[in-house]
């Protein structure tokens, strides 16, 4: 075994975590207090430096801490501030000076200041690096103009991470710069974007002459793409942090429905459900294997496939549920934009079916994910691209 982590092993991390949940029992103290203590103890991101929510411990020990939290009835930490934990924290810790980083990370960790991500645009989805929102120098800062889309939590967020084009005369990846922006800044307008579920869990964000101080630039001018990419890996590997129980996750909905509706059982549906269960189990065990590889310091190709397989499985599961429901599948009890986040109620499965159509689109479409697996894991050549090496302003759009 490696020895560099000998001072902080799983036992020590678990012990620290237990101290926190004992002193601040989940459910009995406010979430902010619990998560604040969690942050102060260095358990928010154990691999971060001491004083910035971490312990300088191996990243692989994070699940140990999270498990203690879960067993004590606390939240999965990232659900407190999904984008904050998922991509922002890693960017801040890499690119922001320690004191400012601590000032930003603590309320991020407690959920007091939610974060959103101003990356995607109507004209830049899969081809994110082609984005057109402009940031132009203005005194000690920048003026930003453009439109962002698919921004979850924009209406609730205190802060955003922003990718904007600072140089249109160079190839697309080289002309981007990364900023953090307060969502209360004048010129930012958030409009809810309604989805097929009727809900508006995403937003469009319009940026009109928004002033951003240069102190809120992360990384060098023109280095935005690389700053953004430095945390994309965090997002993917974080998917492997949890060991799921057998028959949990989306497949649980299908199994539950199967048990509840014996009168609708047919051999064909039984066959389909058995094969879905096999897919779920293949996925679960592969995630577990990826987790063990990562813990042992050899992240393998397993982690890259988890998102893709899981998203396609989710769709198949809810397609199955509709077929098992029969005539009831035609009903949806609400298309209210304010319908709650946790899908429940008499037509929960129908609504989950609708929601599942996004799983193969969000966080990289399945087509892009297959490109990623083909090019980054299997090292297949990139396809010929019409924009390669061209200044951004000459690319057709």
């Amino acid at each position: 075994m490696t020895t560099d982590s000998s001072t902080l092993d799983a036992t020590a991390v678990a012990s620290l975590a237990r101290q926190v949940v004992e002193a601040h029992p989940p459910g009995q103290v406010p979430l902010v207090e619990l998560m604040g203590a969690w942050y102060d103890a260095g358990l928010a991101w154990v691999h971060f430096p001491v004083g910035r929510g971490g312990l300088d411990a191996p990243r692989a020990l994070q699940p140990v801490a999270n498990r203690v939290m879960r067993d004590a009835g606390g939240p999965e930490p990232r659900t407190v501030n999904t984008i904050g934990y998922g991509i922002v924290a890693g960017t801040i810790v890499r690119h922001v000076p320690p004191v400012t980083a601590n000032r930003l990370l603590r309320p991020l960790a407690t959920g007091e200041e939610l974060w959103c991500q101003l990356f995607s645009e109507p004209g830049a989805g899969s081809d994110l690096a082609g984005l057109a929102t402009r940031a132009v120098r203005d005194g000690e800062g920048w003026r930003v103009n453009g439109q962002k889309v698919w921004t979850s939590l924009a209406h609730k967020s205190a802060w955003a991470v922003l990718l904007a084009r600072t140089d249109p005369d160079v190839p697309k990846h080289q002309g981007l710069t990364y900023f953090i922006v307060e969502m209360t800044t004048p010129g930012i307008e958030v409009r809810p974007l309604r989805q097929i579920t009727g809900r508006a869990s995403f937003n469009e964000v319009f940026l009109d002459e928004v002033y951003v101080p240069d102190t809120q630039r992360l990384g060098d001018v023109g280095a935005g793409w690389f700053v953004a990419n430095s945390t994309l890996g965090d997002e993917r590997t974080s998917l492997g942090d949890r060991v799921a129980a057998r028959s949990s996750g989306t497949i649980a909905d299908a199994l539950e429905l199967w048990t509840a509706r014996p009168e609708r059982h047919t051999p064909v549906l039984r066959d389909r459900l058995a094969r879905l269960w096999l897919r779920a189990e293949s996925q679960r065990l592969t995630a577990d294997r990826a987790r063990v590889s990562a813990v042992r310091g050899n992240p393998g190709p397993e982690s890259a496939i988890i998102k893709l397989v899981g998203s396609e499985l989710a769709q198949s599961v809810y397609e199955f549920c509709l077929d098992l429901l029969g005539p009831e599948a035609a009903l949806v009890d609400t298309y209210s934009p304010d319908a709650p986040d946790d899908v429940s109620g008499p037509t929960a499965l129908q609504r989950k079916f609708l929601r599942s159509r996004a799983t193969t689109l969000e966080g990289g479409t399945s087509e892009i994910m297959r490109n990623v697996i083909g090019e980054r894991v299997l090292k297949l050549p990139q396809e010929i691209r019409n924009d390669k090496g061209k200044p951004w302003k000459e690319i057709p759009r």
Binding site: V64, L285, R289, V309, R370, I373, P381
Partner: protein
């Protein structure tokens, strides 16, 4: 065991070293041209190569308990060996001896006899096979086609009569473990391949690297190995271990097909570029990778489950069987597709894997049989 580290999938340095060793051995001793030469011989195997695997490398008895003269390293180690043998398409009694007979003998109540038989088998000096009704993937007493008759005084001697078809490695086995019907059920018998009244007819197999025989037993003298109480459990255990080991071999073959196809997609130029740049090809390669990685998880979950008791062995074995066979076949078929016309030639090794995928996918029951078992265990329970 520290928190956060799963009990399964922890491939330690010894296991990684074992893999490297077996892989190097296969590359050196059983490269593709040797496989082709061997598979075209009448018997379809090379006893010298098998003995080297057993004595020089010492990898045939890794899962055999130490108390029975094996190495007692465990089933995971054995699965790694099978995976590498599968990748290299090594010819020999992999199914008969490694996947079926040794697992059966490992749980034989008569330790002394088991130890004697396995001592020769693990060094490659004795080929064993199991003749049992496992065609559906589980022990099926109703499918017994051999019957046993007790001759003379109690326990003194038995004779076997009947026909057993599709016996893996049946024509090259020195010793046969035969399950036969008695008046009280099914019992396990030991039969010498040279015994009077035994005829082993080699069958012409699609997969020339996995041989089968038809056995005709005409009052063949046999020795009782396990009684009616123990035999079904022995057979079930052999079927489960066999399923997992075969799955590991299939994963090896599938990985070999994936590697070869990716290499082809990187180097084959059409329309002025490597064909792997086209999404039609690239995405199929990505799908192959996803299938192989998931199959690997199931095969090794099975190995760990049966080795350490981390899961219901019947379910773990059925899981592996239900998915991995299909994966090996689909990946081989896609490999052929992505190689274009050359993939259909005798010269390229893809047909060897496609045929192996068929034969390994039938041995010990089809995917559908296994899906049905999973459905019973998970949905009907």
């Amino acid at each position: 065991m520290s928190e956060g580290v799963g009990q399964e999938f922890a491939f330690d340095e010894d296991l990684l070293e074992l893999r490297r060793m077996v892989r190097e051995f296969c590359q050196e001793v059983s490269p593709e041209d040797v496989v082709r030469t061997t598979m075209e011989t009448e018997s379809g195997w090379d006893p010298v190569l098998w003995k080297r695997l057993g004595s020089e490398l010492g990898v045939l008895g890794l899962a055999v308990p130490e108390s029975l003269g094996g190495d007692g390293v465990g089933l995971v180690a054995s699965a790694i060996v099978l995976e590498e043998l599968g990748a290299a398409l090594v010819c020999g009694p992999v199914v008969g001896t490694l996947a079926l007979a040794l697992p059966a003998l490992s749980v034989l109540p008569d330790h002394e006899t088991a130890g004697e038989l396995m001592a020769d088998a693990v060094v490659g000096e004795r080929v064993l096979t199991l003749v049992a009704p496992l065609a559906g993937g589980t022990f099926d007493a109703d499918a017994l086609s051999v019957s046993a008759t007790s001759s003379g005084s109690a326990g003194a001697g038995w004779t076997l009569h009947g026909v057993a078809d599709h016996v893996p490695d049946g024509a090259i086995a020195d010793t046969l473990l035969v399950v036969a019907r008695t008046s009280d059920g099914a019992a396990l018998f030991l039969v010498d391949a040279a015994a009077m009244g035994l005829t082993a007819t080699p069958l012409t197999t699609m997969d020339l690297t996995r041989r089968q025989a038809r056995l005709e037993l005409d009052d063949v003298p046999a020795r009782l190995l396990a009684d009616e109480l123990a035999t079904p459990g022995i057979c079930e255990h052999a079927a489960q271990v066999g399923a997992v080991l075969l799955a590991a071999a299939q994963v090896g073959g599938a990985q070999a097909m994936l590697d070869r196809t990716v290499e082809h997609a990187r180097t084959r130029l059409q329309f002025g570029q490597a064909i792997g740049a086209f999404q039609a090809v690239k995405h199929k390669c990505a799908d192959m990778l996803m299938a192989v990685e998931q199959a690997r998880s199931l095969a090794y979950h099975g190995a760990w489950a049966l080795q350490d008791g981390t899961d219901d062995p019947a379910l773990a074995a059925a899981l592996a069987r239900a998915v991995v066979s299909e994966t090996y076949f689909r990946v081989s078929a896609t490999a052929m597709q992505l190689h274009g016309g050359s993939g259909f030639t005798w010269e390229l090794p893809i047909h060897l894997h496609l045929k192996r995928a068929v034969s390994d996918g039938i041995a010990l029951g089809s995917s559908e049989d296994a899906v049905e078992r999973v459905a019973r265990l998970v949905l009907d329970a």
